[in-house]
């Protein structure tokens, strides 16, 4: 057995770590994506019988061209860059043995199945610990491994709905606007990455492994702290008349603070006056008599006449180009931004392009594809994204042959027998 890595030791922050990875979708795959980009050797294990379809994104649109297939889902590629991919049937005896060998040479096992799935396959934490006494095991499910809902099903929108995030996004007098994407899949993944890294830090210091149980719903509820305190301290619920009103700012109080119409179809601009000096600067730009009204002279006045203030500002913004206006407002030191389309923020914004936020990876079938980068840079051991997501079983030979020492004859047999 060898411990060779694709990444030379010492080159990246996590080059010394290997992850035995059973995650999928975004809530799990996003966690090990981050670890892989930082240099961890992430070995993603998929079920050959179902062709890895447990992860819906594998064969789901969008696609880069007219080709369709299990290796061609672009979402899957985005969420699985820099990982190695193997297939292994954990219901077969030899498949289980090889999985055990992988656990023995891994620092962490990660999964985001429904609670209990991995145990039913014969690998509860107790078993993983027998295989490697200091193993770090991180499970990430909608509701976690304890509590009355632990067997419940979930996906991003369910998590967001239950933790309060969906409710917290909206305009008064309308149903919740919620999140137009699986926000908590992203943060489920980010919290999960922190769980893995935190447990590895603990192991590095004490030699002790552990199980970290993540409930995505619980993690989501930690993202609404001030609202929870307002209720527990003041008895004031967010479910009340006129709330939520999340384009305005209650914490801290600011006015004007909203998203206003601009020239063009579905064109909008966000403006936020943090304090009195921002308001004075904005007054000069608006340059209309109404801004000097006593009603708007201080924050208290602007807050108590906020509907009127917002209507007047909207009348002013309505006929202006949102980018030019935002630039003019920002030049005066006041926060403002066009509500940007994907095209604008990805292809025409130095704030992202100069960061290197959209790296191009090489995928075996898709070729060169741009993906999400990471929002931090490390001065000594930065992340890298060069290789795309693995095709189904792409690294079977390297992982089972080179890492685990299975000879080519047996590899062929195992392939034929559907073990991989």
């Amino acid at each position: 057995m060898t411990t060779s890595r694709r990444v030379e030791p010492g080159q990246h922050a996590l080059s010394d770590f290997r992850i035995c990875d059973l995650t999928g979708q975004l809530a799990g795959a996003g966690a090990t994506r981050l670890l892989a980009a930082l240099g961890a050797q992430v070995i993603r294990i998929e079920d050959p019988v179902r062709q890895g379809r447990w992860d819906l994104l594998r064969g789901l649109e969008p696609f880069v061209d007219e080709r369709r297939g299990i290796d061609l889902g672009a979402g899957f590629n985005n969420h699985n860059v820099e990982k190695l991919g193997v297939t292994l049937n954990l219901r077969s005896a030899r498949g289980r043995e090889l999985f055990e060998d992988l656990v023995r040479i891994s620092d962490a096992v990660t999964e985001n199945f429904a609670a209990g799935v991995l145990a039913r396959l014969g690998f509860p934490y107790e078993r993983l610990k027998q295989l490697r006494s200091d193993i770090v095991y991180v499970s990430n499910s909608g509701f976690g491994y304890r509590g009355p809902y632990r067997e419940f099903k979930s996906w991003g929108p369910i998590v967001q709905a239950l933790c309060g995030l969906t409710f917290s996004s909206g305009l008064p007098g309308h149903p919740p606007a919620g999140w137009g994407y699986s926000y908590m899949d992203h943060h489920g993944a980010n919290f999960m990455a922190i769980a893995v890294l935190g447990a590895l830090v603990h192991r590095q210091r004490t030699g002790e492994g552990q199980w970290v149980d993540m409930s995505c719903t619980e993690a989501g509820a930690t993202l609404l702290g001030p609202a929870l305190l307002d209720h527990s301290v003041n008895g004031r619920p967010l479910r009340r008349e006129g709330m939520p009103n999340s384009n305005r700012s209650q914490s801290p109080e600011m006015a004007p603070h909203n998203i206003y119409p601009a020239l063009g179809e579905d064109a909008w601009i966000a403006i936020a006056c943090r304090d009195q000096s921002d308001w004075k600067a904005l007054q000069l730009i608006i340059d209309k008599a109404w801004t000097a009204s006593r009603r708007f002279v201080d924050l208290a006045g602007r807050l108590s006449h906020e509907d009127e203030l917002d209507a007047l500002i909207a009348d002013w913004t309505r006929l202006q180009d949102r980018h030019e206006l935002a630039e003019r407002i920002r030049s005066a030191g006041v926060p403002a931004s066009a509500v940007q389309t994907p095209s604008e923020r990805i292809d025409a914004d130095p704030g992202t392009s100069e960061w290197g936020l959209w790296p191009t990876v090489e995928h075996r079938e898709m070729g060169q594809v741009r993906v999400d980068g990471l929002p931090f840079h490390l001065s000594e051991t930065d992340w890298k994204m060069e290789s795309g997501a693995p095709c189904l079983g792409e690294h079977n030979e390297y992982v089972f042959g080179e890492l685990l020492g299975v000879d080519s004859g047996e590899l062929a047999e195992l392939r034929a027998a559907g073990v991989m």
């Binding site: 509701f143 239950l162 590095q204 552990q210 994907p342 960061w355 840079h377």
Partner: protein
């Protein structure tokens, strides 16, 4: 009996994974959440604010609606488990004390305007020369090394420019798109910052060297928009916002519906498998709705066909109709039940149903309570305990822990600086 093993229970009295790690945080609205995470994972986080108090002490809501500077619940949430000291970094002697404090820390966490610390001569490059093991984390709106670094920004403008707002709102596009509430830009930057900091810490164990971590909140929200980004990157297609559900390149069916009381539920993931269609039909039968629902026959077809495959929905008209009927049936059921019953009864039957809680409703939910999520913290200035959000994850051996309420102004000056609160030399 359930085949699910019980998840870990946090070891009583054990320390968090970052126990023994010392962090100095310069109080900032960009770092507060990251600092809280580090503190509650066990690090000693010393929060430095000006002697006049950090501006975030004026962020509402306030306990008792008093605008006292110790009553901010923003502060009360984000600064828990930290120690608080006061230093005016513009004053040379305070700066010296700050530098002395740095000599014994592992990490610095700051969100100062790019350039400010360099002008004061206390930035990363100088410190790192003295202490190569130091890990220095900067969380700023656009990142330090960015052409937009000097631009003014808030949570709203970052989320508006960076993608999330484009995807959130209502079917009716005469209504503005919507910013999700609750300081999510700071959270998004903070989570990435902590992940990067822990990776740097692991690296330091091997190399003995720290490093600088430059975090851009704007970049963070840009890569936290799921399909809106990767669909543009690969297919050049633009998603459009829809009420309470995923933004999409073409209209999809509503997923939210009012319950019997007019509160909204999320119908979750509609049935796809044979078992799920069978369960849905059984539920409708039990509620006396099977014969009243016009598309029951489609649900039965779902059973006969052996379910539907999501990947076929665009090309298979029948599959599309069956999938849609599942959603409609759930909307009908929701209209007859209280949201909580819709959620729990649906899930009990194997359907991925949900309800939409306001944040505070989480605190009285039996599942969250059973997991110990709501936790009570004693607040020195009040007699009663205050319920806070608990652990985002349960570490079996090295538990997350909310150790103390947020520090009052200069509360730990004596212990950490050897001076009293408000004392000027």
């Amino acid at each position: 009996m359930s085949s699910i093993p019980d998840g870990p229970i946090p070891a009583e009295g054990a320390s968090g994974p970052l126990h023994g790690l010392r962090v100095v945080e310069l109080a900032s609205e960009w770092t507060a959440f990251a600092g809280k995470l580090l503190a509650e994972l066990g690090a000693e986080v010393i929060l430095v604010e000006a002697t006049s108090g950090a501006p975030m002490r004026d962020y509402g809501p306030f306990a008792g609606d008093s605008k006292d500077r110790e009553a901010s619940l923003w502060w009360g949430h984000y600064q828990t488990s930290k120690l608080g000291v006061t230093l005016d970094l513009d004053e040379p002697d305070h700066r010296d004390r700050f530098l002395r404090m740095l000599s014994s820390v592992d990490m610095v966490l700051e969100g100062e305007a790019p350039g400010r610390l360099a002008r004061l001569g206390i930035d990363h490059p100088e410190r790192c020369a003295n202490d190569p093991a130091l890990i220095w984390i900067s969380i700023t709106p656009f990142g330090r090394d960015n052409p937009r670094a000097a631009e003014p920004a808030t949570d709203l403008t970052l989320l508006a420019g960076g993608g999330p707002v484009w995807s959130c709102g209502y079917d009716d596009h005469t209504l503005p798109p919507v910013r999700g509430g609750g300081n999510q830009a700071m959270h998004t930057g903070g989570l990435h910052a902590v992940a990067a900091a822990l990776a740097a810490l692991l690296r330091r164990e091997a190399s003995g060297r720290g490093q600088h971590i430059d975090v851009s909140v704007y970049a963070a929200v840009n890569v936290t928009t799921e399909e809106a980004t990767f669909r543009w990157l690969v297919a050049g297609e633009t998603v459009e916002r829809q009420t309470g559900r995923h933004a999409s390149t073409r209209p999809t069916m509503p997923t939210m519906a009012p319950d019997v009381d007019g509160r909204h539920v999320n119908t979750g993931a509609p049935p796809r498998s044979t078992e799920e269609f069978t369960a849905l039909l059984g539920w409708m039968e039990d509620l006396g709705l099977r014969d009243r629902f016009p598309d029951t026959v489609l649900l039965e077809l779902g059973v006969e066909r052996g379910g539907v495959n999501l990947a076929d929905i665009d090309v298979d008209v029948e599959a599309q109709a069956i999938y849609g009927a599942g959603r409609e049936a759930l909307i009908l059921i929701a209209s007859r039940l209280v949201g909580y019953d819709f959620f729990v009864e649906g899930q009990r039957r194997g359907l991925a149903t949900s309800l939409i809680y306001a944040p505070e409703e989480v605190l009285s939910d039996p599942h969250f309570i059973a997991r110990g999520f709501p936790i009570e913290v004693r607040d020195g200035s009040r007699t009663e305990k205050v319920t806070h959000a608990g652990a985002p994850m349960i570490f079996g051996k090295s538990p997350w822990k909310l150790r103390s309420r947020a520090p009052q102004l200069g509360e730990h000056n004596a212990v950490k600086l050897g001076t009293q609160a408000g004392e000027a030399e």
